[in-house]
Each structure stands twice: as structure tokens, then as C-alpha cells.
Amino acid sequence: MKYFLTSLTLLVFACASFPKKNNLERSYGDIPTVINPYFSNLSKDYIYKAKINFAEKSFGGIFVVKKLGEEYYRVVFTTEMGNKIFDFTFIKNEFKINFILKEMNKKILVNFLRKDFYVLIHENPKVLDHYKNLGDTLFTETRIKNNTYFYLEEKQQLHKILATQRGKEKSQYIFSEVEKNHAKQINIRHKDIKLSINLKAI
């Protein structure tokens, strides 16, 4: 019986929502929108020196994002010498692989990259709720393609996106060194796969 109660408590705690687990307090009033402005400028070429670590392998290169229209983006990764490693197009809900090097063409990796880049470029996620912690961080709960994300803002500036599943944090997208809506540094971390992406604007 004792074991049953302990496991039940554990189960309830494990299933608790992300805000509850993190002692976030729900904010009342109008639900504000949240905007990710970091790849929103049509006239800007976003160029980053990139390091992608996957399992025990590391791929260095140049990461390029270009907004070509409303919900229309090209995302390209090349080696430093200019050889293309992958080239993706995102148009609304569609995803197209224009090119991918055979060595990188692993379904699990492509799915993670697709998901990660979609989060990075997605400007106006659907807002569900918003919360505050003890500090000054505003947590906006959003939904992108049936996944739940928390957008963390301080002083009205987005600095982190947390991907969650069943109340647990799965991935982090961290934006730093922000100048005029341009995040000079972006780091993506995953908890359940050995994949990390580090971007530094050049």
C-alpha cells in the first residue's frame, strides 16, 4: 500500500504541468501575443558561424537563414569552404529538402533539425497562457504544431524558448547578445538526444 501511494505521488508529480513544477504563477488579464523577431527582417541575410554536435560527431560550418516572404524561409548550412551540407525551404507548413549530404541524411537527425529550425524562424506562435516566476521573467505558453513551448521574456525581450513534453523540459533555444532584433548568439540544447547547435553571427 505504501509503495502504491509513493508511486501514485510520483506519478502525479511526474504528470504535473511545467508551470506547476517550476512554481510559476499564472498571470491574469489579456493574454499578450509573443513575437520571435530574430529572423523577421526580409532585407537581412542572417549569417552565422555554426557548430553542430550530433552524437560523437561535430560539423562546423556556415549557417544561413533568409526570410523570403510571409512564412517563407531558406535555411542553408555549408562547410567553411562553401560546400553545401544541407539546404531546406520552409513555406507555411511545408518543408522541402533542396539538398542534403548523404552522410547527414538520417531521418532522426533531419526531423530534429526541421523541428529546431521551425521553432527558430517561427514568428507568431499561438499563445495559450502566460505565467510569471518570482523574478521578472514572463513565461508565455504557446503551441507550435501540437507541441508546447514556453517563451521566456525579460524586459520585453525574448531570450529563451523551452520545448516541453508532458510537463518536462525537452529542449532549449537560447538567444543572447541581442542588438536591434538580431540575436548574435543562439544555442540550441536537447535533453533526450545528443544534439546541440551553436550559432555565432559573423
Binding site: 532585407s43 537581412k44 541575410d45 549569417i47 558561424k49 557548430k51 561535430s58 562546423g60 556556415i62 544561413v64 533568409k66 523570403l68 531558406r74 542553408v76 555549408t78 567553411e80 569552404m81 562553401g82 560546400n83 553545401k84 533542396n98 539538398f99 549530404l101 548523404k102 552522410e103 555565432k200 559573423i202
Partner: protein, 209 residues
Amino acid sequence: MRNLLFLIVLIANTSLLFAQESNMNNTEIAEFKAKISETSKATNTIQSNFTQYKHLDFLSNDITTQGKMAFKAPNMVKWEYTEPFKYSIIFKGDKLIINDSGTKSNMDLGNSALFRKLNQLIVNSVKGNLFQDSDFTMSYFKSQNYYKVIFIPKDEKIKSYIASFILFFDKEKADVLEVKMVEPTNDFTRIVFTDRLINKPLDNEVFSN
């Protein structure tokens, strides 16, 4: 009047540009190849600055990077990028040594047939010695300032990655001035060499990270 004069000069220059390139005839090709072969044989080391332009059609501007290139016969090449980031890649026989802003890694080129072929092409193009390669069909052009050779790979796998290599040679010295790798989508990488030093002693140490 001044505007009219400017327009005439502009048109004259533009038409000159268009008229600049023409096909080389068989005698010219033979002479050119002999000259290249001579230069290539006499070249033991090359040190040069380079500027790389990565052109992606959808971008507003090419991505520009700069650095230094070193070559030592028979098969060592180092590309050292210094701007806007520090990165070096050394091709040493079948080995590839990378130093990415302090993170060092070795990669066996044998892992990727494509990269092995690319390395061979890079070494040969730096030396200007791609003509022995039966893996390409070649076409030859000349202008007032340069010779231009277009190499089209015969291998379908390479062709799906690089549609053509274009090399520009100095007419006097038969040195490679510029290498252009054109992808099937017409995106390209262009490397322009400047301040070239030939056969200046170069220590083997340069080719280790």
C-alpha cells in the same frame, strides 16, 4: 554633353567586356597546356592570400571570408581562414586536419569518397594541374587578361554536387588566379588569390595544427 560622353564610354566598355572572351583553338590549347605543365613542375611551394565569395542566389550579398593558403608539393594544402572567424583545414594526403577556433579534429577523408575527390581537385587546381584528369570534359577560353578553363565532371555523383569547376589563369605566369565551383543550382563558391609567393621555403610544421 558630359552625360552623353559618359554613356558612350560606358557602352564601349560594356561591349568590350562582352567581346572579351573567345574560344581557344587547338594550337593555343596545346601551348597553354605545355605552359601550365612547365609551371606546375617548377612549383614546390605556393603561399597566397585569398578571398572567398559564397554566392547563394537567394541572398542579398555573397558571404565573404578571407585567409591564407599554403601548398607544398606533392600533396599538402592548408586553408587558413582569418576573417571573420578563425578556422583552418589541412589536406595532407588522405588526412584532413581541422582547427575550428581552437577545437581540433582529425577526419579520415576515406570516410567520404566525395570529399576525397574534392581534396584531389583542390590540390590539382591550386597547382593548375587538372588536365591529366580523365574525369572531366574541358573547354578552353581566352580573354585579354586571362585564360579560362571549364571542367565538367563525368562522374554522376560528383556532378550532382559540383556541376563545374572554372579556373582562371594568369596569361603571363600561368598561375591560377581564381577557382570557381558551380553547383547544379547555379549557387557557387569563388576563391580569388592575391599576393602569391612561389617557391618560398615553407616548413612542414605549417601543415600541422
